[in-house]
Symmetry: C3
Subunit: 267 residues, 3 copies
């Protein structure tokens, strides 16, 4: 399987022409930057978290992105409601398990979300993905489990059990299904100095999954565009503050040629 | 009636010299950018949403801006409390009915806010303004109702019924009262790719209404400055990320000459 | 006592190499910019406010920053829980009493936080610091109390009573303990036109206190870096929008030489 620059750009064009509505129930820290990234790539972000309206908002959306970065009780109830409605309606659901493993509350919430319904894509860093896997017989320590190799192995198990695509992101991003693994080597270290670019990646997965039916391919495309726009921004940025602004400019301006010149995917 | 560049700039100078306190109960997505826009034009933003303190905060404020972009139960109660206190105290109240029409919860909340008390200014896009009008005999479809013409007609009715100024914003902004309509042709399409610039416009209406007693004129001035700063920013921006930063720079630096050269108002 | 540029930069290097986790329970307006400032200087920000997880989050943190900018009931409970756990664990606790004095709710909450446990550093502007001091016999008016001199006098009393460091920030920043006062003259007026830079200063106090055991010295270092990065940013910014981005760039890039050339401390 191959994903070419032309195919990736085709999805960018679809997002720009169709402006799919992406419903986000996300954390307070990144709401502004997430909405701006979705607008920059051409999607239409909505944010709504009240139980009174999440189902209705899902009904007018083409993808749902759930991010547990700043949890609380009422928000969790709304997340479950929104996910159920999204599954019922048949739109893709993306989960960003921010901080899973850091506190029991986050780990529990993320696992319950995964177990309750069949999600489409889960994107997290190695330690978050590992934390999603509840293997009581497992005795491996945190360090080894957080390595990319161990995380990918667990991602494959999670993908098989929960029938969804797992993206383990980091210096390299791994898109993992039961059958295959793809590695994306785009991106730039300065991106780790801007808050919420992981959350942005999850939101972009939502935008791409709204226009690309195959979730594995949608995730590959989203992560490639994310990494390439980050590289382009880092090339002109004086630091993380200007990177944040340039990143949005690059998402907005990205061309097929930009993708062709920079794309680094490995099977 | 005319509103000249000199008159608009006079209000800018008043905002800069008096730094009116503008109390915002607004949505999570735009809080940071709203506060920054108010600071950039010279006002003093405060944000407070707890029922325990909204009335006290209104008491030290010169305008109140209510924005329903990320609603929930407690926030709605606080909005009503704050609006009542603002009316009692005689300061202008601006409503931004974000997403009215998208969900029943938002439509209902916005209508209740409008019906409960006499607001000063309501600013929204065409479909939001149309959603505020509860005409049970109306059978027009959503499409026609969302056109500018239909929205302006409804805005006039709303203005008459609720005795407030309605601003229907979009590619052109229409400031509407029972007696008159003014059209502002400033602004730039790139502004639609930055989240919350509509919310910023509502906040600026608050700042201008704090120093300009006539609400119609205050709205015209706010929307003109908004559009002109947006044009100035778009002229130097490489995309929506840099536009967001430049827009604040331009609000901060705007001169009478900038306004004179760019102002496009039609009666 | 002296704090040299070399000593300040040493702490910057420690933050960059150790990436201390700084737990923030802060306001909605500044969450994004606070997280970005902590990342830019080299720390690892976390934000969590649910009662279910704040203690656990404190347990993996090296400093706790409490900011009352957008209070509500549940958040206050979590603040108390987090502070208790931080004291128990022995990590520094920084309080930013945003808006103390503006409403009774904020003043009361800030005072209760101060009285309940022994905090490490309190950073606020003159009127906020004055509002923390509950002297029933005091009859001085607000104006005199808000002057720097009066605020410093009160800061000394607060420091003695509550055994913590007080930073009264403004055009000049005063770091105050029972025994000594240090004045930092760095900073730039344009910084007051960006929302939340005071909150950022408090968060930086957390990052510096995580690597510098003496809280007085940690506060001096944090405020000096804050002011110097602000000056450097103002030198290249076209207004408050570009200042916000440049400020993060400067925090990220600041060198010992930058500090040496600009540092203005007075005993």
């Amino acid at each position: 399987m191959k994903v070419t620059a032309a195919e990736i750009y085709k999805s960018v064009e679809l997002i720009r022409s169709q402006s799919p509505v992406v419903h986000n129930i996300t954390n307070y820290v990144v709401m502004n930057s997430t909405a701006n990234a979705l607008l920059a790539i051409g999607a239409s972000p909505v944010m709504a978290h009240a139980q009174e309206e999440v189902e209705e908002m899902v009904n007018i959306s083409s993808a749902l992105v759930i991010n547990i970065g700043t949890l609380s009780e009422h928000w969790i109830s709304s997340m479950f409601k929104a996910v159920s409605q999204a599954i019922k309606k048949g739109i893709p659901v993306i989960l960003d398990p921010v901080g899973a493993g850091a506190t029991a509350y986050r780990t529990k919430t993320a696992r319950e979300l995964i177990n309750s319904e069949s999600l489409t894509i889960i994107r997290g860093n190695a330690s978050e993905i590992v934390a999603l896997y509840d293997d009581k017989s497992k005795t491996r320590g945190v360090d080894s489990a957080s390595s990319s190799d161990a995380a990918i192995e667990i991602a494959q198990k999670l993908s098989e059990i929960h029938k969804c695509i797992i993206c383990v992101s980091g210096a390299n991003d791994y898109i993992v299904s039961k059958e295959k693994i793809m590695k994306i080597k785009n991106g730039h270290p300065l991106m780790t100095k801007v808050t919420g670019l992981g959350c942005t990646a999850s939101a972009l997965c939502g935008a791409f999954a709204a226009v690309e039916k195959k979730p594995f391919t949608a995730t590959v495309k989203a992560m490639a565009v994310m990494g390439i726009a980050g590289e382009m921004a880092a090339a002109v940025a004086a630091g993380p503050g200007s990177l944040q602004a340039s990143f949005l400019d690059c998402l907005y301006c990205i061309t097929e040629d930009d993708i062709k010149q920079r794309l680094k995917i490995e099977d």
